[in-house]
């Protein structure tokens, strides 16, 4: 592929109440690159994520999978970018796990056989194949997280964006999720506070603070820079 998976150019955004959440953010991700987005709460990570599928629209340019994010491309953009929100409860709004995972493909108007195939494939990818008939409401947080990821994998996105995927998980659920993220062969931008996970599976790290990208580089090097981490409320491991 000739294009970048994510291309953000000089993006700024202020919430309607006047609070500026993003200031001149620029970021490129190559296909199949996995990058972690770290920084303190309120740094603008979630706001940035909401720009990647056009839910928020700031000033500047956002290109995803070679498509300019704009009013007329929203449909295509949302089919190619899978956003997994922080709270799996928001993501799971259908009566059963199957319905939830099938939502994206059904919306795209795929034929029933294809929808079923997509759902099986997505549930298998997150190791939840036997959960299709379950009611998502009664699952554990770790299970809901994985189902939430399946709900976007079923759209076969080119880019996967996750907001704090390991927050609130027990060690075993966290381990399962990290292994899962490590083996998925797609472009990934993951906002997180889990520095251990960042060191383990993300070769690239982007630090945000006060709406700006303050550092962007190899995780190995940035992790050694105690002064930088300290300045932006992160802990050196």
């Amino acid at each position: 592929m000739s294009h970048h998976s994510i291309e953000i150019n000089d993006l700024s955004y202020a919430y309607p109440d006047g609070h500026t959440a993003l200031r001149n953010v620029s970021l490129n991700l190559a296909p199949c690159e996995k990058a972690a987005l770290v920084g303190p709460n309120g740094a603008g990570k979630s706001t940035l994520i909401l720009h990647l599928n056009g839910i928020l629209a700031g000033q500047g340019q956002v290109k995803v999978a070679g498509l300019m994010v704009g009013k007329d491309t929203l449909g295509q953009v949302r089919a190619r970018v899978g956003v997994v929100f922080q709270s799996p409860d928001d993501q799971l709004f259908s009566p059963t796990v199957f319905d939830d995972v099938a939502f994206g493909p059904l919306y795209q108007g795929l034929p029933p056989d294809e929808v079923r195939r997509r759902v099986d494939e997505a549930l298998a990818a997150v190791r939840m194949a036997e959960y299709a008939g379950r009611v998502s409401h009664h699952l554990s947080t770790g299970e809901k997280k994985r189902i939430a990821i399946a709900t976007v994998l079923s759209m076969r996105p080119e880019v996967l964006v996750l907001d704090e995927p390991t927050a609130g998980l027990d060690p075993r659920a966290r381990r399962t999720l990290i292994n899962l993220l490590a083996e998925l062969p797609i472009t990934m931008l993951v906002s997180t506070h889990d520095m251990l996970m960042v060191r383990e599976i993300f070769p690239r790290m982007v630090i945000m603070d006060e709406g700006r990208i303050v550092a962007d580089g190899a995780t190995k090097e940035l992790m050694e820079d105690a002064a930088l981490l300290e300045a932006h409320g992160l802990e050196k491991l």
Binding site: G75, V77, D89, D90, P95, D99, G104, Y107, H137
Partner: protein, 267 residues
């Protein structure tokens, strides 16, 4: 991200905003009561009441236009009074028929209808000024102070608090839905059938309902664990000063006078 558009309170620096919430609540209720008690067709009294609320609106710095625009809210509700025009006996004005139905408008009916419209319009304006010039917590404290049952006030307070949480939750659900509402191949019919979309929306509503119940349970447990025993306690409000009592007394006297006039000069 949070929502503020539901909150009617408008921050201003006006004497109406600065006034004690208890006084505003009592006077607004008295105003609404006066409107309700004024007999039909007491036009001079309506004009006086209208001038009164207009003066308050001007002092409140909310903008008369703004209040009037909001008061349009009352319009759909006055439709309920429409049949009055045709059901009250009296001098016939005009008649028309729908099929085999003959409707005859009467003069007293029309008068009654116009009175109901005017009265509810005036009342709504008072409520708007009250809600826009008093922060909701102040209003709750005032309700407690004037002797509304504490449990009822507590229910109002909790409803207010969690209405916003629920709206936020609904918005997040809708955002998650639109994030997955994509289509890739051109030419394919997207969005699914109407029935399917309706069932998705139904699922979301059910979800929201379940979550509201669960949240209510958690809140109740959190209240219990902090010692809640069914009795709502709150900080006492400062005692009313003499000027406060004077304002309340004057206000009620004025409204009583208007009511007296209304009964003297009706129709």
């Amino acid at each position: 991200m949070h929502l503020h558009f539901l909150d009617p309170y408008q921050e201003r620096r006006s004497p109406i905003h600065a006034a004690d919430a208890r006084i505003k609540l009592v006077l607004a209720l008295a105003f609404i009561l006066t409107c309700a008690l004024a007999p039909a067709g007491a036009w001079p009294a309506y004009i006086l009441l209208g001038v009164l609320i207009l003066v308050v609106e001007m002092f409140s710095e909310l903008g008369v236009g703004w209040v009037l625009k909001r008061s349009a809210l009352v319009l759909p509700f006055v439709l309920a009074a429409l049949p009055v025009i045709f059901t009250l006996p009296g001098e016939p004005l005009f008649r028309f028929s729908i099929g085999s139905w003959v409707l005859q408008a009467s003069q007293p009916g029309l008068e009654r209808f116009a009175s109901i419209v005017l009265k509810s319009w005036l009342s709504v304006q008072a409520a708007i000024v009250l809600a826009s010039s008093t922060p909701f917590p102040g209003l709750l404290a005032a309700m407690r102070a004037i002797g509304l049952p504490r449990l009822l006030v507590a229910v109002f307070g909790l409803m207010w608090r969690y209405l916003f949480v629920l709206v936020d939750e609904a918005l997040r659900l809708m955002r998650a839905r639109s994030a997955r509402s994509g289509y890739d191949q051109p030419g394919r019919r997207t969005g699914g059938s109407l029935a399917w979309r309706a069932s998705v929306t139904g699922g979301m509503a059910g979800n929201l309902f379940l979550r509201a119940i669960e949240r209510a349970d958690r809140i109740y447990m959190a209240m219990l664990s902090r010692g809640y025993d069914g009795e709502v306690r709150s900080m006492p409000m400062p005692a009313l000063r003499r000027t406060h009592w004077l304002v309340v007394g004057f206000g009620i006297a004025l409204l009583a006078f208007i009511l007296l006039l209304a009964n003297l000069f009706k129709g």
